[in-house]
Amino acid sequence: MKLLTHNLLSSHVRGLRPGGGFPLQIQASEVRVRPVPFNAAFVARLVPRLRWAALLEAAESLGHPSELPPEPAADYEGDESFLRRVHHILLEVEVLEGVLQCPDSGRRFPISRGIPNMLLSEEEA
């Protein structure tokens, strides 16, 4: 599971407050870093779609402090070193084994072989 995916994942346990269930807290037992070819334009397109605070928090929790600013700078598109750092944290760091925890309900979702299991039981959904 890449942090790009984590940036989208939310818990849909029933009964959560609106906007709840995000971001999921990562407890990783196995993390892998794998190089991915860098494409500045591609990363620049991703930036506006990201939920930035959640990304920073996730990076910290993985022990990969990203040296990213609290908010993307206004001219981020031209800042290659910034884009490279975003690229690295978003696409090159993967959680292979671990758990995602819903911040509201406490429900735990396991990650196995890089694939998070978000299935809810009938009662929960």
């Binding site: 995916t5 989208l8 070819p37 809810l120």
Partner: protein
């Protein structure tokens, strides 16, 4: 009855033979044009033993063919390898390649590509876009076109089945009660104007001089899984053919209708369908291609029930398709159908259809694309291969499917592009309005009991619509049963307000199918009415943007495209 022909130096020999006992007929064409710089006159070609449907054991047949080959000029056409030179296997063929490039630059060729029914418009569009094709002519099941593209580009066609160099295209062979006359017509079609043959052969050779080796290399990487599935495929094809041949042996002699000597797809009308696979399957030839021989002689066979041994000796085959529209003769360009993707380890949905669906989704750079019932991931693989500047996610509830998808993604080298989740399409753990495209092959109606799962369809659509941003597209593949249901659901929501839906069984109006040809479908049936009336749907914001009927082989399916318009007004 055997026919043999005197052959002039620059021509080919064609022989048709018929075995009275079984009433089946096989056309075998033997062409030998040797090019070691000169053309040698092949001696008159005699026949080929009649091959009867199903009855002749494989071993016998292959002995007969070997006898044929040893008795002809095949040997004569193969000069001994020059001393000290190992037979080139994968090395370049400089002379041919240079000549090939010159030829390609000079004008390219005319081709035709077969396509699954319903995919012809996609293929026509693709040849124009990808190959800059001209003179594009679309008929049922085939697209004819001219292009100067090189084989590497031709190989990339995604919505076609098999690609051929066009030898001839004529008006249909006149139908006649006189069988001999019909056979004569077929013979003339094939062997007339030998110059065509030589021209086309040189194009084919040039194409293969450039690209043929690559083909061999990539296909000699077969995973055992693929090989097994190909062999299983061949085994079932053969069985099927024997059944077909059994039933069709009477009708094979019938006039008119379709006679496919080497068809690319089975249909009820196919007669002696054939073991093209035995030629094309590289695993049969145990990976050792007689490359040295290919360089020097050139032989064809058409529609032979012959064993794998022949595949080693014969370099190509002729495809003849005779029907009411036209008579077409062509030479296949590649050993495997285009639909066999070397980057897909285990295919789920047919790759051509998966690609066609992805092409409808309007994937732009930076798009977020989701397949919420991804199975083995075929749609995502095709999409990510063609439109790599986007991000792809696949979700499925089945561990085994996800494992298969994972393997497929690794094999294709697309781990950077596609991420997987274990999640249910009924409750996607994803934020609203976060995806640009949702593409999915809805499995219901094919594997599962239709009545039970139809009830899930509105929930599924609702979730898909929720995660889609405004302006995004949904592309779905539905079985025929679901197709009827789908119209009921979406039309319902468009016509009625939410209140009416929850009240009103009586408001279930006739659902009109939004087919491209404007036909209306049948009424929504009783089962669907009962659950439709009890659910509030939010499909008012999904606008239909095309329905395409495609053939999946045995059944038909429908590709539906929807666009999400502003959801203001729907809670």
């Amino acid at each position: 009855m055997l026919l043999s022909l005197p052959i002039s130096p620059a021509s080919s020999g064609a022989v048709l033979c018929r075995n009275r006992r079984s009433e089946s007929c096989t056309a075998v064409i033997r062409l030998a044009a040797c090019t070691d710089g000169s053309l040698r006159a092949p001696p008159p070609v005699t026949v080929i033993n009649a091959v009867r449907g199903g009855a002749v054991p494989r071993a016998t047949r292959s002995r007969r063919f070997e006898a044929l080959l040893s008795g002809t000029n095949a040997a004569a056409c193969r000069p001994a390898p020059r001393a000290g030179e190992p037979p080139p296997r994968r090395g370049p063929w400089p002379a041919l390649r240079a000549a090939g490039r010159a030829k390609m630059a000079a004008g390219g060729g005319r081709y035709f590509c077969t396509a699954g029914r319903g995919l012809e418009p996609f293929l026509a569009r693709e040849v124009r876009a990808r190959l800059g094709a001209t003179e594009v002519d679309r008929v049922s099941g085939k697209v004819f076109f001219s292009t100067e593209a090189e084989p590497g580009e031709l190989r990339k066609l995604k919505s076609g089945e098999r690609l051929f160099l066009l030898l001839k295209k004529h008006t249909p062979i006149p139908v006649s009660r006189n069988k001999g006359k019909v056979l004569h017509e077929i013979k003339s079609l094939v062997i007339e104007e030998p110059k065509y043959w030589l021209d086309v052969i040189s194009i084919w050779r040039n194409l293969h001089g450039c690209g043929g080796q690559k083909d061999n290399v990539s296909q000699e990487n077969p995973s055992p899984l693929k090989r097994k599935s190909e062999e299983a495929n061949i085994a079932t094809k053969r069985q099927k053919m024997e059944q077909v041949r059994g039933t069709m042996s009477e009708e094979c002699q019938a006039e008119g209708g379709e006679r496919c000597v080497v068809p690319e797809r089975k249909s009820d009308q196919d007669c002696w369908t054939e073991s093209k696979t035995s030629l094309e399957d590289p695993s049969k030839s145990s990976g050792e291609e007689p490359i040295a021989n290919e360089q020097l002689s050139f032989s064809f066979r058409v529609s032979c029930r012959c064993s794998g041994a022949i595949a080693k000796i014969l370099t190509s085959q002729i495809f003849i398709h005779l029907n009411d529209i036209h008579s077409v003769v062509g030479i296949p360009l590649f050993r495997l159908p285009l639909a066999n993707r070397e980057y897909i380890k285990t295919a789920g949905l047919r790759s051509t259809i998966a690609w066609a669906m992805a092409s409808l989704a309007e994937i732009s750079a930076g798009a977020f694309v989701l397949d919420p019932m991804c199975g083995l991931g075929t749609i995502l693989l095709e999409a990510a291969k063609e439109w790599p500047e986007a991000c792809y996610w696949g979700a499925d509830i089945s561990d085994s499917q996800l494992e298969g998808a994972d393997v497929n993604i690794r094999t294709a080298g697309l781990m950077d592009k596609i991420e997987l989740l274990k999640a249910s399409v009924k409750a996607l753990p994803l934020p609203s309005e976060s995806f640009d495209a949702v593409i999915s092959d809805i499995p219901f109606g094919k594997k599962f009991k239709i009545t039970k799962d139809i009830q899930l369809l509105p929930d599924i659509l609702q979730e898909m619509e929720r995660v889609l941003r405004v302006g995004g597209t949904i592309v779905l593949l539905l079985s025929q049963d679901l197709h009827k249901c789908m119209d009921g659901i979406t039309k319902h929501a468009e016509n009625d307000s939410p209140n009416a839906i929850s009240d009103g069984a009586s408001e279930t109006t006739t659902a009109k199918a939004l087919n491209v040809d404007g036909n209306s479908s049948s009424l929504v049936n009783g089962i669907e009415e009962s659950f439709l009336s009890s659910r509030q749907t939010r499909f008012g914001s999904l606008v239909p943007d095309g329905v395409y009927e495609v053939s999946l082989g045995k059944t038909d399916a429908f590709i539906y495209k929807y666009r999400k318009i502003s959801s203001a007004g729907n809670q």
